[in-house]
């Protein structure tokens, strides 16, 4: 945030933010009785780093032209972004209780109708193209703002992602940071069974991107990777995140086929207790 950007924000504080985001994710999923809780939990560490450390933006001025932009390509991860936006004060925490409900602006697969959403993702393969366009536009205007795009591992099967990857490298968009969440679950199962995507890091490198691969649930590693990326000029940056679906709640981490987790009513209390008991 513009006033609060804390370059020296301790890792412990970011971990506390990530835990808050996970609390919000569980809150939404419990009220809705369902939802993309596994994804919301697995991406909380990245969103904590971006929204409470790295990104320059103002929750009270969402159309600020010089803001850094978070571009969510994977619409079903909206539960995670709602958590971050509510935590940042873009909308009230109480609104999280409307997640997925009729008439709510917090849709199960989010859209730009929600404040703080830069695009409508969810038709997978759109995000990186629009991120490239935004990065070009910001550069053409001479603005220092940056684009932080989030893709999923399954989304690498969409050809349009690679059209955009080619363009990002062709135009040397070093204001473009692309995170690829590799949680090894897509709708029909693990990507290596559905349509192999590895070697992911080597693919991005071959497309002309600076590419790193880290533990995406390690806040220290995320911070270091972003710093490494920022130091590299003349190329866009890919940071491949190996994450665990349902991270922070062992009940969900261990559940099989957890692309869309179904949770029994009695399990939410266990999930909450497990989250609080964790680090």
């Amino acid at each position: 945030m513009v006033e609060e950007r804390l370059d020296v924000m301790p890792v412990a504080a970011l971990k506390a933010r990530a835990k808050n985001l996970r609390r919000h994710v569980l809150r939404m999923a419990e009220v809705a009785g369902q939802g993309y809780v596994g994804q919301g939990l697995d991406i909380a560490d990245l969103l904590a780093v971006l929204y409470f450390h790295e990104m320059r933006y103002d929750p009270n001025r969402l159309d600020w032209p010089d803001r850094d932009r978070f571009v969510l390509s994977i619409g079903h991860y909206s539960i995670g972004l709602y958590a971050a936006l509510a935590e940042a004060g873009v909308f009230p925490l109480d609104e999280l209780d409307t997640y997925g409900k009729d008439g709510s602006r917090l849709e199960m697969s989010g859209s730009e109708a929600t404040p703080g959403f830069e695009i409508t993702g969810g038709s997978l393969g759109h995000g990186l193209s629009q991120a490239v366009g935004m990065a070009l536009g910001l550069r053409l205007d001479g603005r220092q703002a940056r684009i932080f795009n989030l893709l999923s591992d399954g989304e690498l099967q969409e050809g349009a992602t690679w059209e955009a990857a080619m363009a990002g490298a062709h135009y040397r968009l070093d204001n473009l940071f692309c995170f690829i969440d590799c949680n090894s679950q897509q709708a029909d199962g693990p990507p290596q069974q559905i349509m192999g995507i590895e070697p992911v890091q080597a693919k991005w490198k071959a497309f002309g991107w600076q590419a790193q691969r880290i533990n995406g649930n390690d806040i220290t590693a995320i911070l270091a990777a972003i710093d490494t990326a920022k130091a590299a000029k003349g190329r866009p940056h890919a940071i491949v995140l190996d994450t665990v679906m349902g991270k922070g709640v062992p009940l969900f981490e261990q559940r099989e086929k957890n692309h869309f987790i179904r949770v029994d009513a009695g399990e939410w209390a266990i999930a909450r207790a497990q989250l609080e008991a964790g680090e």
């Binding site: 695009i119 193209s129 050809g159 080619m166 363009a167 135009y171």
Partner: protein, 333 residues
């Protein structure tokens, strides 16, 4: 109704790649879209241009030469073309993205619907080779794009008829804040409308000719042929109105209803399949308003078309002025 298969021998050669059909044009203008875009961009620094490896073939090379720093070559990647354009729009630019109708409509449809239209991103999609304006066959002839584009919410859909209207429409859509799909006539483009007298208005159909016997309602390049048909009919003592509908969406129902309420014998003419385009829009309007009319539809039948020279294709698929006049006669008999 026209048929897909007939046995008449081929005539002429495959149409030249870079030009519109100027067979009967008394005047032409070169690359009206490219020059109009340059003129608009001289006034408005937010206008940028993009293409998917068809700069020379969609006349946007004129803009690229004048404003190289505001031009983005995207390569052969139409989905990315629209996505990048949407991203540029979201940073406050006014992107004009060019490709062919077939590639925009068939390959990039999801990107137009979700990337551009859903959030009303200020993207202008300029699509060449509408209908039978290329000698290539089904791969390149954009025969169903209007039907597809008309069904996307928020999207403005245009099919200008000539160089005069293209120039005016480019200025108008640059000023309009929202997504637009415009069909493009490229290269040497006929001048049908007098630039001193014609005034394009987004969303408005224009009465080009008055006549009480039959109403010809046309869009795109078929308007030139409708005017020719009206002249042919006049020589036979028949007075035809010609209503030119360059904005297919939003559709100017009032203009159509006020005409067909008085002149209920109607021929539609479009450079597009006869379902889902102009004829369907007219049928929707009269059905909703309970206005009884008799309707003949001139356009491409339900088939992929042959390759061939443009005059051959117009004759082959009954898209000539004479076909429009003959349809009018059928209504009058």
């Amino acid at each position: 109704m026209t048929t897909c298969r007939q046995t008449s021998p081929p005539k002429g050669v495959t149409g030249t790649l870079l030009s519109s059909d100027t067979t009967r044009a008394s005047a032409v203008t070169a690359a009206p879209f490219g020059h109009a875009l340059v003129a608009a961009a001289e006034r408005n620094p937010r206008i940028v241009g993009l293409t998917a490896d068809l700069g020379k073939y969609t006349d946007i090379h004129v803009f690229a030469e004048r404003f190289p720093e505001r031009f983005f070559q995207i390569g052969m990647a139409e989905q990315n073309l629209i996505g990048v354009a949407a991203g540029l729009a979201r940073t406050g630019f006014i992107p004009f993205a060019t490709t062919y109708c077939v590639f925009a409509a068939r390959r990039a449809y999801d990107f137009i619907a979700i990337g551009a239209a859903l959030g009303k991103a200020n993207v202008k999609i300029i699509a060449g080779l509408p209908g039978l304006t290329t000698g290539y066959g089904g791969t390149h002839q954009g025969i169903e794009d209007l039907a597809l584009m008309r069904s996307i919410p928020n999207l403005v859909v245009l099919d200008p008829c000539d160089a005069t209207e293209i120039a005016q429409a480019v200025a108008a859509i640059a000023d309009y804040d929202g997504p637009v799909y415009m069909r493009l006539l490229r290269g040497q483009v006929p001048v049908v409308l007098d630039p001193a007298r014609y005034q394009f208005e987004l969303g408005r159909a224009k009465r080009l000719r008055e006549g009480a016997d039959v109403a010809l309602i046309s869009t795109g390049l078929m308007t030139g042929r409708a005017l020719e048909a009206a002249a042919l009919l006049e020589m036979q003592g028949i007075q035809a109105s010609v209503l030119h509908v360059s904005t297919l969406k939003p559709f100017d129902r009032e203009a159509v209803l006020s005409l067909v309420g008085r002149v209920p014998k109607v021929v539609t003419a479009e450079n597009h399949v006869i379902t889902g385009g102009l004829a369907s829009a007219v049928a929707d309007a009269v059905t909703d308003a309970s206005v009884p009319i008799r309707l003949k539809r001139i356009g491409i039948p339900d088939c992929f078309c042959e390759s061939g020279s443009l005059p051959y294709l117009a004759e082959r698929y009954h898209m000539q002025a004479e076909d429009i006049a003959a349809a009018a006669w059928e209504l009058l008999e």
